[in-house]
């Protein structure tokens, strides 16, 4: 088969069409991937909006390291321009040992601090009943400054494991506040 014959054959046409479509779609996706990239800044801003609503901005990132506690860990500590602390904490022992991470907002008043708001940030895919966690349930944490032993059924009926993980996360965040408060 000569090159000319090959160029006119059906096989060449098939390959050429497929390659063209693949190249065009690959290029399109590469451009969109750059255009719609999600970086840390957007993630932090998204977290702030989920807890405080719009109009609040980041003042300072205090810590990005994971600090392990007994039943959870603190992943991120942020200081907002309203002088409130926002802590992203992860709670263990959810449904099928999955995790739930939450944003906990602390209002500061001199050396005193108290939970002002809680919002779910992320959860592992095994947490199938997360739709049962509502704002009313999460508002049970508001005002706390000590670790709580709240009954999971008070947060959400029917999703007790996921609620336990949320409770663990909030407790870890409170524990972090206690330690930095003691230090100064």
């Amino acid at each position: 088969m000569t090159i000319k014959q090959f160029l006119q054959s059906k096989i060449f046409r098939c390959i050429a069409v497929l390659l063209c479509i693949a190249l065009i779609s690959g290029g399109l996706l590469a451009i969109l991937n750059d255009l719609w990239a999600v970086d840390d800044e957007i993630l932090i801003q998204r977290g702030i909006e989920s807890v405080c609503g719009k109009g609040v901005n980041l003042k300072q990132v205090i810590s990005q390291e994971t600090i392990e506690y007994e039943s959870g860990s603190v992943q991120q500590v942020l200081l907002l321009d309203t002088n409130e602390y926002l802590i992203k904490a992860l709670g263990k022992h959810g449904f099928q040992e999955g995790n739930v991470s939450v944003y906990v907002l602390f209002a500061l008043d001199g050396s005193k601090y108290a939970v002002k708001n809680v919002a779910v940030a992320d959860y592992s895919s095994s947490q199938t009943l997360m739709s049962k966690i509502t704002d009313t349930g999460l508002s049970k944490f508001v005002g706390l400054s000590e670790q709580t032993n709240i009954n999971p059924s008070e947060i959400a009926t029917g999703a007790s494991y996921s609620s336990t993980a949320i409770k663990n996360a909030v407790n870890s965040a409170i524990e972090y506040m206690q330690t930095i408060n003691m230090e100064g």
């Binding site: 779609s25 099928q96 040992e97 995790n99 095994s126």
Partner: protein
């Protein structure tokens, strides 16, 4: 060893492909009329799942991530699966004719089976898998992925075979003509799913 046992239990029962995660409902409803067909379909899916895990896991973690091409994942996976199924069909036809007679006709259907693409998408997310199986970071490897694929496929086989056994009896019952076919099969599947839901309550 305990990790492997955990993976087997999770893949086959707790995350049962059909009755818990809703993968592969089309063959579950379509090919479950006779036990023989159901078994052939189930084993074909298991084989393809195992090979898919073996191939897509390294492709994603050792090729796409280092190159920063994660966004091409869907296209790459579906093409790898389609090519694998084609090759598998040729190989089985040539070297194992009895096996081809048993499950060859189901192989082309598997390309567009969500269970296969679903398992590829599940196992490639190593962080999620490590949380479920209590592994530390970087410990989930190809071997684990393949075991997960095989037993997810066997869980699918179990569900589809049980269904064909039940349909043998259910289809003979007298009922309104509107309930016949899909509706009554789905109602039966609902009861099976309730039974499998009990596995989800096991603390692992």
């Amino acid at each position: 060893m305990s990790t492997i046992f955990l993976i087997i239990i999770v893949a086959a029962f707790i995350n049962n492909a059909v009755l818990v995660q809703c993968y592969g409902i089309c063959p579950f409803l379509g090919v479950s009329k006779k036990m023989g067909n159901a078994l052939g379909m189930g084993l074909a899916v298991t084989l393809v799942m195992a090979i898919t895990c073996l191939v897509t896991f390294p492709i994603y973690n050792y090729v796409l991530i280092p190159l920063g091409l994660e966004f091409l994942e869907i296209i790459v996976f579906i093409f790898v699966i389609a090519a694998l199924v084609q090759m598998l069909e040729k190989v089985i036809k040539k070297f194992m004719p009895p096996l081809y007679n048993a499950m060859g006709i189901y192989l082309p259907l598997i390309t567009t089976n969500c269970a296969v693409l679903g398992v590829a998408e599940t196992v490639m997310d190593t962080t999620a898998m490590e949380t479920i199986f209590h592994l530390s970071q970087g410990q989930f490897n190809v071997g684990h992925a393949v075991i997960y694929g095989i037993f997810l496929g066997l869980g699918f086989t179990l569900a589809i075979c049980l269904m064909s056994g039940l349909r043998d009896k259910v289809d003979k019952l007298e009922m309104s003509k509107h309930l016949k076919g899909f509706p009554i099969t789905m109602a039966t599947a609902s009861f099976m799913a309730m039974a499998f839901y009990v596995f989800a309550l096991v603390r692992i």
